[in-house]
Subunit: 392 residues, 2 copies
Amino acid sequence: MTKPFQPPKRLLMGPGPSDVHHRVLSAMARPTLGHLDPAFVGMMDEVKSMLQEAFFTANALTLPISGPGSAGMEACFVNLVEPGDTVVVCVNGVFGGRMRENVERCGARAVVVENDWGTPVDPDKVEAALKANPGVKALAFVHAETSTGVESPAGDLCALAREHGALSIVDTVTSLAGIPVLVDHWGADAVYSGSQKCLSCPPGLSPLTFSDRAAETLKSRKTKVQSWFLDLTLLTAYWGGGAKRTYHHTAPVNALYGLHESLVMLHEEGIEHSWTRHAMMHQALRAGLEAMGLSLLVAEGARLPQLNAVVVPDGIDEAQVRSVLLTTHGLEIGAGLGALAGKVWRIGLMGQSATPRHVASCLGALESALAAQGFKLSAGAGAAAANRLLLI
Amino acid sequence: MTKPFQPPKRLLMGPGPSDVHHRVLSAMARPTLGHLDPAFVGMMDEVKSMLQEAFFTANALTLPISGPGSAGMEACFVNLVEPGDTVVVCVNGVFGGRMRENVERCGARAVVVENDWGTPVDPDKVEAALKANPGVKALAFVHAETSTGVESPAGDLCALAREHGALSIVDTVTSLAGIPVLVDHWGADAVYSGSQKCLSCPPGLSPLTFSDRAAETLKSRKTKVQSWFLDLTLLTAYWGGGAKRTYHHTAPVNALYGLHESLVMLHEEGIEHSWTRHAMMHQALRAGLEAMGLSLLVAEGARLPQLNAVVVPDGIDEAQVRSVLLTTHGLEIGAGLGALAGKVWRIGLMGQSATPRHVASCLGALESALAAQGFKLSAGAGAAAANRLLLI
């Protein structure tokens, strides 16, 4: 007979989920309320306003989608893109490729702008694609590519979209709360994120925000949104309806308790402080990795502090290293995805996993796993990291 | 500044969510694991096999969709229905209407079989519709209409579908674990449910199962599934892939801990015992309501034990009664939906909310709220209910 499940103790330093603070876990264990209970509805309003704060936006249409980040991505495309539309999609990793899938499944045409994995989206290429395809409905790109650890210039890309009369659709799954996501300042139109990265909630919710321009586009659609579940016109009648809400689906009540608590914690810390913390931990990790003789995939300047793609040295069995980290040290790091499978490790420093303890544990465990495979280490990775932390 | 959210104490006796056992709440508060962690993957396998047990099926394609029941509904339609198909949709309440929406948003034609709200789907009408529309792709109906409290004859309807070469798509959101859901015995093809009803989990997950015939239909599609997020071919590579799983989306780890625990509890109780418990509590509630002078909307024989639609007596302000129940007694019951708005209350006895304490609390609170509006009560509803419990 199946027994209750007791998860082993882990330090989560992969590409997400990140470690969840016990305050958030406790919040999720509070008694379930009805999804139309006035007390719950009051909490929803707070979630909405804290998400506006986290996204740096005044957008009225701001809410968490009741599904993981990929549901948030799909919500953006199905609500804004209609059959026959053309969308410029920037692909420089796995998640750009997924955007392309979304566009095509909406019956629209995807014009793909390719950039090498591990490099940012090049605005010049995007401009050329926009010029070559007049009447483009939207420009879609990933701000922080989780598969490579690259940041793309979101502000520049959103500005280009606007110049060419296109909406911008921006994936901030891995960026929100880890690096600046400035929705109104960028002039971004449709932006989605995930709960399980730098917000340090369990996975399952996707914060989303639409500019007034995007909301207008939604209103003036010629066809019905192909997804009932993700139809934002129906969703806003529930989330944005004030006291008089119209039932749509049953909101994931306890998951929303968790998101609420994580947003309260973000507010207490201050989002700018959260950015700084992520940057500091990244510098410490980087110093330690380099002292060890390892290198990062991404060039300085485009590196995400919260997602570090580390090049696997020649002759090292990368899966064995991850396995030792997991089973001996209880420490999870990520494998490479797609074109980078077997070539990189992905070390996450997201949310509650961006602490000195995580950096030191990871460096120590990595040293020991590499040494076991005969990798010649320079000494003192931990010291280099500690030194770096003192310097900042 | 926003503070942590502390939900008020409630007894949940609406149409779902139902009360969640502290074992399930505690399970959800366990530390988050990575969604590809071997320990988590082992737990996923257990969830899958316990779902097969709950659905009384050997279907290989059995998994929880990472979204609420409406995402499970949409998963069935988008995976099986292609543009140009015809689907017979039975409408006898809100959720049948939502099925129709789903069919149309797949670019298919819905042939609607209407039955009065509060009555079951009539197999003769369905047979006529199937005969009048040769080549129908699927027959869709709601086993347990949450908006009215009616059970429809699932076995008969699935058999009709099969006779006419159509797939059956069955909503068991409110029925699973409350009354028999016998997927293989019925010969049902695509069946979905929800976590927050008789399974007594928080909302947010939708158990789903596809027969081999449905899985074959999926394989032989001419077009891509319009939803990437709900594409079951991609989902099964993650859920059904054994040790070698292909990443699709990030599973809602902690929500799945909760579902796992609720399924362990169901197994411990025995699902047949759970059905009996729901039936007993319904009889007790019914006896009490009738002793009070109230009546149920649905005729005996088609009544769902877990969802009791109670006719609002003339001259009673139904919203005021619900408000008194909620604010004075901390007890949530549901309002009527759609055509039944203002005409019925919906009293749920689902999962952990199907206990003598819930029945007695509800009857007592209802008596007091009705008396406050001058409703002439027959004495002794609580006694009638207690008596009934002894009798069974």
